[in-house]
Subunit: 344 residues, 2 copies
């Protein structure tokens, strides 16, 4: 362990954002690395995952998880290396998936760790395609969306960590897949690299018309991870018995306050739910924990056979995490956003 | 057949309502009774069912069924007596369930008829507790709502044809059941006759607070057949993993136009769907046709054993159907609304 690393750099929630987060909502501190007790390991964080759900943790409102308190460490999934061990199951050099948060070192009793095998897959995939975002896509699409051959599946943020997996699995299941992404590079990637049947740029002036044009048979599954104007474009196109898994609403996470100006879109939504027998179901992947073994099996096989591709977007240095996270909420990332916290 | 009955009185859609229907939206005509062809029967309508869904048929917007065209017969479920038969399966005196609409006579080829046995149950139950409304309650509650013992189930229009059955079945399944009804008589009926655990009068000034008070553990199943202010009172109380079958939205059926003033309640709803993993599912009972035999079996048994009660609200004379229907949309009925079209 190099001496320069012997302080633990940590990024804390300095204040709650009102609207979009800014650099001032984060504070960096250098703490000492705690001594290990028996049964503990010291982890050096290699990679930190940045994900949209973290925006929810920055707000006081209770969601499916408790918020991060002001002054506390920002939470997040990480890949880390064991550097010291007083735990019988771990030894220095082990690489593990942990939930160590936005810091360079962490102490764990091992209960939250899963060992990774770098010879099986790049360890960063444990934060993306073979991790929480991939499992969100897999479980939500297959359990709630249930795409059938020939049906039309639409997914937004289609080049992102979740959307890219949703669309490719829907293709594997025989559906016709339409992606929505922001800008020509992402759209080209979604169409040419990921093999979606069609892609629409949500920056286009005639976005709604373009989406309608590439969904001539309507929409049977809309995997909702965005909300906002994408929802407005999708909504008129959904078919009878459409399924709408809701895993994220990134377009409204930065809305300041609890009130939204009219018109009121609730009555038309409820009317459509009724008259089209729609299914709208929010979820968080951990409720489908029983499907994890099938997920690891299926996705690893699809990656190995070249049927499922992924893209990672690396940012160097923990100090750049706040800015990268702010950019994630604006769609500035291109692929699964990961911070390199330490060299490997 | 008395000579005075030899014209067929029919009630037609005269014009589409803009907001609440009025008497001017209906037109009565006296037509001749058509001669029978081979394979047909002549039906004399005994009872006409009036149901909220008919409001949707009066509008031009396509819903799960085509609208009634202006100038066409108002549609509706009926109990009728065969008065003439040129069909081998039917003979005069047979009583059948039909979908003959708002008229006093109808001709049928038999394909849409189901014979009723007056010795088994009062024939009017085929329009209510043992008919479409009862099956709506049964299938939506058990398939989508899935109440578990000890959970809290809330249903509005609790003294009505659907709500009364929803609540009683939820009780049979071991749930704690809270009804919402309008006025002291209906509330007393729901509590004392139907045996709900609690009932709240939606006319009360402090309706929201009263509902919260009788749902100390939140709401696990909300059977949505009303919308409007009842939804607003229910929404803050729904628990994680709550199920919301949507079978009707009577409070918004009479809204004129397509736009609703703000604030926009869609983003908070979507946020709750996401953060609480809610299930919102619209349905129409016919999609659950496979469950009909179980429905008839179960509900007949529950009625016979006294575990399931029902109340019918009769109106005399087809000419009074429009006014009764207008009242139904305002909650003026008390129990399943049925028009006595002919004496039996």
């Amino acid at each position: 362990m190099p001496s320069s690393s012997k302080t633990n750099r940590r990024i804390l929630l300095a204040s709650r954002p009102n609207g979009a987060p800014t650099a001032e909502n984060f504070r960096t501190e250098d703490a000492t690395i705690p001594a290990l007790s028996k049964g503990q390991v010291l982890l050096r964080v290699l990679y930190l995952s940045l994900d949209p759900y973290m925006r929810g943790r920055m707000s006081a409102a209770r969601s499916y998880a408790r918020p991060v308190e002001v002054g506390d460490l920002m939470e997040g999934g990480t890949v880390a290396e064991v550097v010291l061990s007083r735990h019988q199951d771990f030894e220095p050099g082990d690489v593990v998936l942990s939930h160590s948060g936005w810091q360079s070192y962490a102490v764990s009793d091992g209960g939250d760790l899963r060992k990774l095998d770098p010879s099986q897959a790049p360890v960063t995939t444990a934060l993306g395609v073979l991790g929480m975002p991939g499992f969100t896509a897999y479980s939500g699409l297959l359990t709630i969306g249930q795409p059938k051959p020939g049906e039309t599946v639409v997914v937004a943020a289609a080049s992102g960590a979740v959307g890219s997996v949703v669309g490719q699995i829907a293709k594997i299941k025989g559906a016709r897949v339409v992606g929505i992404a922001g800008g020509p590079d992402k759209c080209a990637f979604v169409r040419d690299e990921l093999g979606f049947d069609a892609v629409v740029d949500h920056h286009a002036q005639d976005f709604e018309a373009q989406l309608a044009a590439v969904c001539p048979d309507g929409i049977d599954v809309y995997f909702e991870n965005v909300g906002g104007k994408v929802w407005d474009a999708v909504f008129p196109l959904v078919n009878e018995f459409a399924r709408i898994p809701v895993c994220g609403l990134i377009a409204q996470y930065n809305h300041a306050g609890d009130s939204f100006p009219g018109p009121d879109r609730l009555p038309p939504l409820m009317r459509a739910i009724l008259s089209k027998s729609l299914l709208v179901r929010g979820f968080i992947q951990r409720e489908f924990v029983d499907q994890r073994p099938a997920f690891y099996h299926d996705v690893a096989e699809w990656i190995a056979s070249g049927r499922l591709r992924y893209r990672e977007d690396f940012v160097d240095g923990l100090d750049n995490a706040p800015n990268a996270f702010i950019g994630l909420l604006e769609g500035r990332n291109f692929g699964k956003l990961i911070v390199r916290v330490a060299g490997t």
